[in-house]
Amino acid sequence: MKADPAGVLTGVHYLDGDKACAEGGLAAGCRFFAGYPITPSTEVAERVSERFPYMGGMFIQMEDELASMAAILGGSWAGVKSMTVTSGPGFSLMMENIGLGAMLETPCVVVNVQRGGPSTGLPTLPGQADMMQARWGSHGDYRLIALSPNSPQECFDLTITAFNFSEKYRVPVLFMMDECVGHMTEKVVIPEADKIDLTERRYTKKKPGEYLPYAYGEDLIPDMAKAGDGHFFHVTGLTHDERGYPDMTWEMQEKCVHRLIDKIDKNVDEIFMIEEENMDKAEVVVISYGITSRVALRGIQLAEQAGMKNIGRMRLITVWPFPEKRIRELAKKVKAFVVPEMNYGQMVLEVERCAGGQCKTILVPHGGGTVHKPETIYQAIKEAYK
């Protein structure tokens, strides 16, 4: 399916990441947006509130982030692509209903423009310390998808991908930006609507009375119905059977929750996106994501200038599910992974786990508030070569 031209601002623009993300949402066909102001993500909401009246979209500023998250789940069940946007504290407030989204298998996109934390932290300054929250933030076991852009152009492109993934796998997709990428202004090229491919939601073809909300086939993803179509379906956050009815048994827990995990885990190869460079002879691989990937580039250049030639570069675009297989492969071949990130060690835990002691893993931590100094990353690469 191609994008609706009404939402596509075709042309070459000079936009910050927040606005580019908003444009990505509109191009992806998002027509319901519920949000609550919070720095540094507010510009996304502002942009949407300005643009929606011209294209028949509905923007509402809710009373808080709990409401925003609950509202977009409702919007999605009414059959409209829905998104919300927030930063650190708001992301924490959304967690319970992100879990409901996972349990009800509700397509939607949640943008988190990360700032320094914990608590109120650094409202106007960058951080990347919500990465594990994106993985484990809501209680219970589940799998979601999280993407991390590193430029305004990617904020546009990947927001569309986020919607496509959410529709295909019926999960909330977390869009993990950071303040730098959100407020950085660069060239953003928005293609024509007929060049934008969208994944359509798979609605049930069953007649009313025959539809079971959680009956699934080989791909483990149930067909959806929307409110008002006469199916009289029921969905619940309780552990449920294929009718959507509560079933409080360990057997049903195993069946219900395991599938939520399997439907993502079994499709990792389709979901994971990474960017790699100079991997063939790499002795040391620098793994980063978001704004840090751009700083890492300079760190690598410094190391190369100092004579270290075989430095591989990997950028995580999909951060969850984590590209385990690829890291395991590389761990057998390389001396070390260097992981700079704007936190005191989050994604590095995954790298370390997958490396399984086969090579060194060196964290380059940073508390946030500004980006790494390239020299720090260079020093870590030097350390890795020893």
Partner: protein, 307 residues
């Protein structure tokens, strides 16, 4: 009736032909019969409220497939699971914002939030007041049993002063909410209260609320014999019904500020508020049209309606 008379009747041969036991229950079409028996205790008032709701739907001209039911968590939170409509059992306190999303994404839907006093006015209180303020076109039906029943009888924002709950073992010392006054103060265009005894009036009121444009709120005072009545030694379900009978006063048009409920006090019931005001969507469409003119694409209005 005297015992002798009863015996006399019982001795009489039955002249009426017994109908087939296979006969359909009058609510069968409207309930998820494959989920029966429900989880509610005997003498609980929620079942009565559900029956009234279904009878209310029948009184309206609403298309059945357009009616969605959203519940939060708690005993009343289970309502969505038993009513055979598109129905959503959401998180604690968030039934209203979920409903807001449904309604705004598809304004054709008639979205009903059917939940409890703790869910709607404590953990979900913020959503109740703001959705009323916006006059968002949904109906909120609030079961008030004065207690958190599902979790075993803890104090609620509606528990009357001095009443015993498991977390106020010496009696409640807080000021409770007067829910009709809260809803009215925040801008609800329809506010009513009935008890689970007033089935006919409650049904009519629910039907009115369903057909009212804007934010409508109906409070249903419900017996909870397992917890509230037992903790407070108020007797059986029948005793509670008798209490409602003897102590409810119908005061249609009463000032909602004057309908607060004290421990075992008189309960004022009736339709308190019924006014007209533009809904959230009406305001949006009217205002934006004046601001943006023809470039504005009205929301939730079909092309036919626009012309």
């Amino acid at each position: 009736m005297k015992a002798a008379e009863v015996e006399e009747i019982q001795k009489k041969p039955k002249t009426r032909k017994t109908k087939s036991v296979e006969e359909e229950h009058p609510l069968e079409k409207w309930l998820r019969m494959d989920r029966m028996p429900h989880i509610w205790c005997s003498t609980c008032g929620i079942g009565t409220a559900v029956t009234c709701f279904i009878e209310a739907i029948k009184k309206t001209t609403l298309a059945r497939e357009d009616i969605c039911v959203v519940s939060g968590i708690g005993c009343s939170g289970r309502i969505a699971g038993y009513i055979k409509q598109d129905s959503f059992h959401t998180t604690h306190g968030r039934a209203i914002p979920f409903a807001v999303g449904l309604k705004l994404a598809n304004p054709k839907l008639k979205v009903v939030v059917f939940s409890g006093d703790g869910d709607l006015s404590s953990i979900g209180g913020n959503h109740l007041i703001h959705t009323a303020r916006r006059n968002l076109d949904i109906t909120v039906l609030c079961i008030n049993n004065f207690i958190y029943a599902m979790t075993g009888g803890q104090v609620a924002p509606t528990t009357p002063p001095t009443a015993i709950a498991t977390t106020t073992p010496y009696g409640n010392y807080e000021h409770p909410f007067n829910l009709p006054a809260l809803a009215a103060a925040c801008g609800a265009v329809y506010v009513a209260r009935w008890t689970a005894l007033h089935v006919r009036r409650l049904t009519n009121s629910m039907a009115e609320a369903l057909q009212k444009k804007g934010f409508s709120f109906v409070e249903i005072i419900c017996p909870c014999t397992t917890l509230y009545a037992r903790k407070n030694k108020l007797g059986s379900g029948l005793d509670l019904m008798k209490f409602y009978h003897d102590n409810s006063v119908i005061v249609n048009g009463a000032d909602p500020r004057e309908v607060d409920i004290q421990f075992q006090s008189e309960i004022k019931v009736g339709k308190f508020i019924d006014v007209d005001k533009p809904t959230y969507l009406d305001s949006y469409n009217t205002y934006m049209k004046t601001k943006l003119g023809d470039k504005f694409k009205p929301y939730g209005v079909t092309d036919e309606e626009r012309q």
